[in-house]
C-alpha cells in the first residue's frame, strides 16, 4: 500500500471533520474522494498534504509516517481548487518555481518546463500570465506546476469545480489519460459522482467525516455498502414497504423492517403487454408526469400509491399523462443495519427459468 491513513481523527472546534478514517491506496492508482460538501473529503486531502494536522492517527506515505514531516518535504504535488497560480509569474515561471527551489540547473529547468508545457498542450503560451489564460488552461498549468518537481503523489482538490461544463468533460478525459500515462499515484476530491465514476480507478465515499465505502466505480454502483451510498450514487427513490409489489412479497406477510431503495434503471415501463417480456411480474401504474431529457424520457408513475421514476427511450412509443402502463420492478436494494442486500423480482426470475 502506498498511501495509508490509520485511525485519523480531526476536529475543528466542535465540528468533527474526520472520525476514525482508515483507508489505503495502491501505488499508481487514481483515486476519487467523493462526498457531499462538508463531508470531510477536502480535510482528508489537506491532511495527507500536511496542510492540516490530524488530532490523532497516522498518515503513511511509501511506508513511512509523515505526520511530522513538513508539507514541502513529503514529495507531494498539490493542485488547489482555486489553482493558486502565482498571479504575477508567467506560465513558465509558475511551472519552474518548484524546480528553482530544488536548485536545478537552468538547462534542466528549461527542459523540464518545455516538456510539461508540451504535455499540457500550451506550448507557445510560456510568457502569459495566469489572468491571460482561460479556466481550463489555468487548470492544466496548475497540474503541470504540481508535477514539475516529480512528486510521488499527486493531490487534486476539486480540480474541475471552476470550469464550465463543456470544457470540464474534455479535461476529465485528458486528466485521466495523462495521469495514466505518467503512472503517478493520484487522489482527487470531488462532490460530482459523474466525475468520480468517469475519472477514478477507485472511489472512496465520505459522509459526515467517515468513510462509507471504498471500491471501483462499478462495485460501488452495483453493491452499495451503506444506505448513504445507495442514495448518494445514482438517482433513487426510497420505498417504505417494498413487499407490496409483485415479486417482492414477504413469506410471512409481515412488513419489512428496512426501507427499500429503487433506482430508475431497475424499473421498466411498458405501454402494453407486448412491450414487456414477463408481463405477469409487472404491476400496473398511472403516468403522472413526463419530462423530455434530451437523450431519454423520464416518466413519473404511481404504483399502488407509491410514486416511482423510470426512463423510456426515444424509440419507444409516446406515453400520455393519466395513461395506465405496465411497470416491471427488476430489483430493490434493502439494508440491514449498515449492510446492503439486493432483492430480485421473484416472479420474473422464476418465469425466465421456465421459458429457458
Amino acid at each position: 500500500m502506498y498511501v495509508e491513513l490509520k485511525q485519523i481523527n480531526k476536529k475543528f472546534g466542535d465540528f468533527k471533520a474526520s472520525q476514525d478514517v482508515n483507508f489505503s491506496i495502491e501505488q499508481g492508482k487514481l483515486v476519487g474522494l467523493l462526498g457531499p460538501s462538508g463531508s470531510g473529503k477536502t480535510t482528508i486531502l489537506r491532511m495527507i498534504a500536511g496542510l492540516e494536522k490530524p488530532d490523532s492517527g497516522d498518515i503513511m506515505i511509501g511506508g513511512s509516517r509523515v505526520n511530522d514531516i513538513a508539507p514541502g518535504k513529503r514529495g507531494i504535488g498539490f493542485v488547489f481548487q482555486s489553482y493558486a497560480l502565482f498571479r504575477h509569474m508567467t506560465l513558465f515561471d509558475n511551472i519552474a518555481f518548484g524546480l528553482t527551489l530544488q536548485k536545478k540547473s537552468k538547462k534542466e529547468i528549461i527542459q523540464k518546463v518545455n516538456e510539461l508545457t508540451e504535455l499540457i498542450g500550451l506550448t507557445g503560451f510560456e510568457g502569459r500570465y495566469p489572468n491571460q489564460l482561460s479556466g481550463g488552461q489555468r487548470q492544466r498549468v496548475a497540474f503541470a506546476r504540481a508535477l514539475a518537481p516529480n512528486p510521488k503523489l499527486l493531490l487534486l482538490d476539486e480540480p474541475f469545480a471552476a470550469i464550465d461544463a463543456k470544457v470540464r468533460k474534455e479535461l476529465r478525459q485528458w486528466l485521466r489519460t495523462t495521469i495514466g500515462k505518467l503512472g503517478v499515484t493520484s487522489i482527487f476530491v470531488t462532490h460530482d459522482q459523474e466525475e468520480a465514476v468517469e475519472v477514478a480507478d477507485e472511489i472512496i465515499i465520505t459522509n459526515r467525516g467517515q468513510i462509507e465505502q471504498k471500491g471501483t466505480p462499478l462495485q460501488i454502483y452495483k453493491k452499495p455498502a451503506t444506505p448513504f451510498v445507495a442514495q448518494f450514487i445514482g438517482e433513487s427513490t426510497i420505498i417504505e414497504d417494498y413487499t407490496k409489489f409483485k415479486g417482492f412479497e414477504s413469506n410471512d406477510g409481515a412488513k419489512p423492517k428496512e426501507k427499500g431503495v429503487l433506482r430508475p434503471e431497475f424499473i421498466e415501463i411498458a405501454k402494453d403487454e407486448t412491450e414487456i417480456l414477463t408481463p405477469l411480474a409487472a404491476e400496473k401504474g398511472i403516468v403522472r408526469a413526463i419530462y423530455f431529457r434530451g437523450n431519454n424520457i423520464q416518466v413519473d408513475i404511481e404504483v399502488k400509491g407509491q410514486p416511482l421514476t423510470g426512463y423510456r427511450t426515444l424509440e419507444q412509443e409516446d406515453l400520455t399523462i393519466g395513461m395506465e402502463v405496465f411497470v416491471l420492478i427488476h430489483r430493490v436494494y434493502t439494508f440491514e443495519g449498515s449492510h446492503t442486500e439486493v432483492i430480485e423480482n421473484r416472479i420474473k426470475t422464476e418465469q425466465n427459468s421456465v421459458y429457458i
Binding site: G13, G50, L51, K53, D55
Partner: protein, 274 residues
C-alpha cells in the same frame, strides 16, 4: 481546541517581531502614561478634570466633533453617491481630491482655513457679512473638523455602494416605490453600518484633533479651548500630572465612543442574522 497547524513558515518570527515592536512603541509608553498618571492621587485628579475650564474644553471638543461628523455624514453620503452612480467630467479629479485631508499636514490646513474664514478672508467675509463669526469661534472649530473628517465617511461608504447590486433598487422600483423611498428603505440600511464606522472614525479623529483646529479656534478660555489644547497648556506649565489626567479622561471617552459604535454595529449585524 486541537493542535493548530501553521503551514506557511514564518509564524514565530512575525509574531515575535510584531509583539516586540507593538510593546516597545505603543504598549510600554501607554502603560507609563497610565501608571504615571495614577501618581497624581484621586483628589487632585478630580480637581484637575472637574475644573470648569477643562470641563468646558471637553464640551467644545466633543460637541464640535459630533456636529462636524454629522455634517460629514450628510455630505459623505452625497459625495459617495455622486462618485459611484454618476458619470461626469472631472469625476476622477474629485475622487482623487477626497483624500486631501489625509495627505495635507494639519498645520497647513489650519493656517489655510484660518486665513480663508477670518473676517477679511475670501470666504469669511461672506460669513461675517451675515453675522456669523466663522473664525476664532465654535463655528471655526467645526469648519476645521469638517475638513479633517471629509474622507472618513465617503471612503467607507463608497465600496459598499459600488458592490450594491442595482437589482435591489430595481426590485423596489418595480414594487412601486419612488426614488426617495427606495433610497430610504433599500439603500440606506445597506450603507448604514459603514456610515456608522465612518462617523465613528471622523468623530474620534475630531475629538483628538489639534493641528488644524488650534489656529482657527482663537483659544479663548471657557469659549473656544479644545481638550488637546488644555493638555498642551498644562504641559507648557510643566504640570505633567494635570496634562495626564486630562489625557486619560479624553482617552477613555474616545474609546467609549468607538466601543459603543462597534456595539451598535454588532447588534445590527446580529439582527440581520449574519
Amino acid at each position: 481546541m486541537a493542535k493548530v497547524t501553521r503551514v506557511i513558515p514564518g509564524f514565530r518570527f512575525t509574531m515575535g517581531f510584531t509583539l516586540f515592536y507593538l510593546t516597545l512603541i505603543v504598549l510600554i509608553p501607554l502603560a507609563s502614561l497610565i501608571l504615571k498618571g495614577g501618581g497624581i492621587g484621586f483628589g487632585k485628579f478630580l480637581q484637575t478634570v472637574l475644573d470648569p475650564r477643562v470641563l468646558h474644553s471637553y464640551l467644545v471638543s466633543f460637541g464640535c466633533a459630533f456636529f462636524a461628523a454629522i455634517i460629514n455624514s450628510i455630505f459623505g453620503i452625497i459625495l459617495a453617491w455622486v462618485l459611484v452612480r454618476y458619470e461626469f467630467s472631472c469625476k476622477k479629479i474629485i475622487d482623487g481630491l477626497i483624500d486631501l485631508p489625509f495627505a495635507l499636514p494639519t498645520a497647513v490646513a489650519g493656517i489655510a482655513l484660518t486665513s480663508l474664514y477670518s473676517e477679511n478672508g475670501w470666504i469669511g467675509r461672506f460669513f461675517y457679512a451675515i453675522g456669523i463669526e466663522s473664525s476664532f469661534s465654535l463655528v471655526g472649530i467645526t469648519i476645521a473638523l469638517i475638513f479633517i473628517g471629509i474622507p472618513f465617511v465617503t471612503r467607507n461608504i463608497q465600496p459598499i455602494l459600488k458592490d450594491l447590486d442595482t437589482q435591489y433598487e430595481e426590485a423596489s422600483m418595480m414594487l412601486g416605490a419612488n426614488r426617495w423611498t427606495t433610497f430610504r428603505r433599500v439603500i440606506f440600511p445597506e450603507i448604514l453600518p459603514s456610515l456608522l464606522t465612518g462617523f465613528g472614525l471622523a468623530f474620534a479623529r475630531g475629538v483628538g484633533e489639534y493641528g488644524s483646529v488650534v489656529f482657527i479656534a482663537g483659544n479663548t478660555p471657557m469659549k473656544t479651548e479644545i481638550a488637546p489644547l488644555m493638555i498642551m497648556s498644562k504641559l507648557e506649565q510643566y504640570d505633567y500630572y494635570g496634562a495626564t489626567a486630562i489625557a486619560l479622561v479624553l482617552l477613555i471617552l474616545s474609546f467609549l465612543i468607538l466601543f459603543s459604535i462597534n456595539l451598535i454595529q454588532w447588534r445590527m449585524s446580529r439582527l440581520k442574522g449574519i
